[in-house]
Amino acid sequence: MAEVLLQPKGKIGIMIEAEVIRADTLAKKRGEEIERLLVWQGPVQLPLGDFFEVEVRGTGQAEETVVVIEGDVSRVKRIGQGMKTGKIEILGSAGMHLGAEMAGGSILVRGDAGSWAGMEMKGGLLQIMGNAGDHVGCSYRGSWRGMTGGQILIEGNAQSQLGSGLVGGQIVVAGNVESFCGIRQNGGLVLVKGNAVRGAGAEMTGGTLAVLGKIKHFSPGFVEAGREESPKLGDLQLEGKFARFSGDYAISKNPKGVLYCKEG
């Protein structure tokens, strides 16, 4: 087991991009080596050590390496991007693109996560204890293929476009979501325990979306397809009475998306 402690050195002005902060990249490196790794601030590359105090405790393989960020990094983008193994724990909030394209390992944020968390994620676990921004687990602009695998858990609320173009994997939001959750979803599972504002499941062609709370503006292209008692969605057991809708008929004549809404 190895622990890499990163202590933010103070306020960050222009946001930095630090995809080097990955458990599998930092694994087996000495503190000085890590400090010398480069991050981007605007068009300039600067050593990570300019922004963080680095301390390495113990040694170990990548999969048993834990990176702990001991503070707020909400102006640090791309933490854990593309990570394949190991663990990152962030005690504060994280910036944009947290765990984007992640393929394995796990990331835990105690605070909030910026937009594009888990974009095009392929595997692993991304856990956000606070709130998340827009585009969680989404596809890139213009693409209809978003997250393909892995799991995202959000304890708080998420904003818009969550799970857009979802192909596979699972996103669970304990709180509320805003607009267009599961838009263009074509596989995988999204569970929202709270409410949704509008566009839930809009343009969905496949996969499953379940909303336990209220949907303020129901997507007009969903047609009721029956009722179910405590449905089981993958390994998630839901409790209570649900109306099952299929859609989105606004996007195609033969859509395969399934939307569960809790009744009562």
Partner: protein, 146 residues
């Protein structure tokens, strides 16, 4: 964000007459004429653009004020403008020409699109005695640190 969908939520408090509206901003031909003609710092421009049009019913409910104060959703910014009743506007909505006065209270959230809510921003409106400022005065008051 649900606020964008709520029409006409009355938030009467502390004896103040204050209502929530959805702000729609847009071009008017005179605004266009003055802006394209480089007259943004003129009194004509203020008269044309520092204006808040609302449904006559809402106008009456606010006590037919000469001027109203429009406040952004987060309460951080507000601006005074001349109130006008206007039949073409549905209850719960207000219209302001697109110009500095309206943009002071437009919500800066872009939903990760780059474009703020120029149409359909939730705002609060109350009658006011405050002066309607010119564009120049507004910049000096709100933006330029002395």
């Amino acid at each position: 964000m649900e606020a964008m969908l709520n029409l006409f939520v009355s938030t009467r408090g502390s004896g103040k007459m204050m209502k929530e509206f959805l702000l729609n901003t847009g071009s008017t031909i005179e605004e266009g004429r003055l802006a394209k003609g480089g007259s943004k710092l003129t009194e004509d421009y203020t008269q044309e653009c520092a204006v808040c049009e609302m449904n006559p019913g809402d106008f009456q409910d606010l006590g037919s004020p000469q001027k109203v104060k429009i406040t952004s959703r987060d309460g951080r910014y507000s601006v005074a403008a001349y109130a006008h009743p206007e039949e073409s506007i549905q209850s719960g909505q207000v219209f302001m020409p697109r110009a500095i006065w309206s943009n002071v209270v437009v919500d800066p959230e872009t939903f990760s699109t780059g474009s703020p809510l120029y149409k359909g921003s939730p705002v609060q409106i109350e009658p006011t005695k405050e002066d309607v400022l010119s564009a120049e005065e507004l910049v000096l008051k709100l933006y330029v640190r002395s």
